[in-house]
Amino acid sequence: MSKERIQISEALYDIMPSDYQDLVKSATYGKEDRGWKDIGSSKELIEQHSLCAGCPESMAFRYILASLPNPEDTVMVGSTGCTSLVFPMVAVHNIHSLFGNQNAIASGLKRALSVRFPGRVKDVVVLAGDGATVDIGLDMTLQAWFRQEKFTTICFDNELYANTGGQESGLMQKGFVAKMAPVGKLFDKVRLPEIARESGCHYVVNCTVSKPSLVEKVIRNAVHVAREIGPTYLQLYTPCILEIGKNSMEGLQEMRDSEKPTERFAYKEYISEPAKQLLAELAAKDKERKAAAKQLAGQAQAN
């Protein structure tokens, strides 16, 4: 798995727009320890987007793309929402599904990829908003987990329907008043992380995207566990600054405020026993690899 499969025909190289040349030359495809620190120094898999200035969702999207362990062999399944405006600018295979259908599409896709490419690791990652995951697509979301489909579901939780003007969603917090929900939410936020755990997900995390290294860790874990064991679920708080009445610069602080121990996005993690074992093995291998690299570097320096 590497950039070798993404090469420009030599005879036409000079006419390719520089974006594509850069992607082939300096993107992080194939790099084993790629991560959020590559942002800004390597060709990014998402460079520009049409989301609002300061949008936490755009930060989250960048971190996710930088953290995918296997981007050249990953297919992302998206749903209608702000992310669908970004997907055309993303250098990873992606499918835009009908609203709410994302987990059903991902199920079929993952199975088809296993049949079509039996010897190759192909990851499928669903990325959808809270409306698609918890309200309209809850059936498809849960059924995929019940069936133990091997892919990761990421929910960008902004606690309302943002790009249609601020309607109430299942993940909205109780009592919140939005532009199109003037009475205020009467019920509690749906406890999807707990539901995910009970529905068979092997790795579940509920957090904000204020810390890129944490996002990188949970994305990698979720993809690896989904690849080997079964469904995984990440619920990431990506507040819509417009709909909650914040300014562009206030998105990060909003996330920090919401992840305090008593708040609704306090870091919450569930790992099943088989997943714990897998992650321990991966961590050991990673440690070994790093030690070997360090030793090699030391030898090279000595010579």
């Binding site: 005879a11 036409l12 390719m16 405006l85």
Partner: protein
């Protein structure tokens, strides 16, 4: 009744089934007549998926070089890529690329009056050809690797390295026999 696609060994010119030989001559003539004859290579040849794709790319470059050698002063052959099909927002740069979702922008910007699509997946080529036909007066040629395109004004089928090279040879052979439209107002119009 619509347009019937050509059988192997045939092509269509303005919807009429003709021999491939005739199509080579007509395509070469249109290229030599045009003020801005342009080749639009698509992802199937721009990216080196396999050896065949790379060879086709080399043949396309040869065709472009031949065109450059054979046109008269005032004509401006172009080679503009269609690297992929995603809709590019907020805009594309029509000077350096063409996009199937708004190909007319590239045609208008560069005043292209004759173009050839090659290495574009059929459904995206159909979309582009329809938009170009509807919104510009550019002559469209499809060098299709499958069954041909009814939306192009001239369409080959079963495109191969040999066919692209043969078109280049025909352009060379007809050099000097065709009067370019240099006095026309300005290439394609909207």
């Amino acid at each position: 009744m619509g347009i019937r696609l050509p059988n192997p060994g045939e092509a269509h010119i303005n919807g009429v089934i003709e021999s491939e030989e005739k199509a080579y001559e007509e395509a070469a003539r249109q290229f030599l007549m045009a003020k801005v004859p342009t080749i639009f290579p698509g992802p199937l040849v721009l990216w080196a998926w396999n050896e065949k794709a790379a060879k086709k790319a080399t043949a396309i470059r040869h065709l472009f070089n031949t065109l450059k050698e054979c046109v008269q002063p005032g004509q401006k052959p172009m080679l503009i890529p269609m690297p992929d099909y995603r809709p590019k927002y907020p805009k594309i740069n029509p000077e350096v690329e063409i996009n199937p979702n708004h190909p007319n922008l590239t045609i208008w910007h560069n005043k292209i009056d004759c173009c050839m699509f090659v290495g574009v997946h059929c459904h995206q080529a159909n979309l582009s050809l329809k938009i170009i036909r509807g919104g510009t007066s550019c002559y469209t040629i499809a060098m299709c690797a499958q069954a041909g395109h009814e939306d192009a004004m001239l369409s080959f089928r079963d495109a191969s390295v040999e066919k692209i090279m043969k078109l280049a040879d025909t352009v060379k052979r007809l050099k000097g026999t065709v009067q370019p439209r240099l006095n026309s107002k300005s290439g394609a119009s909207n």
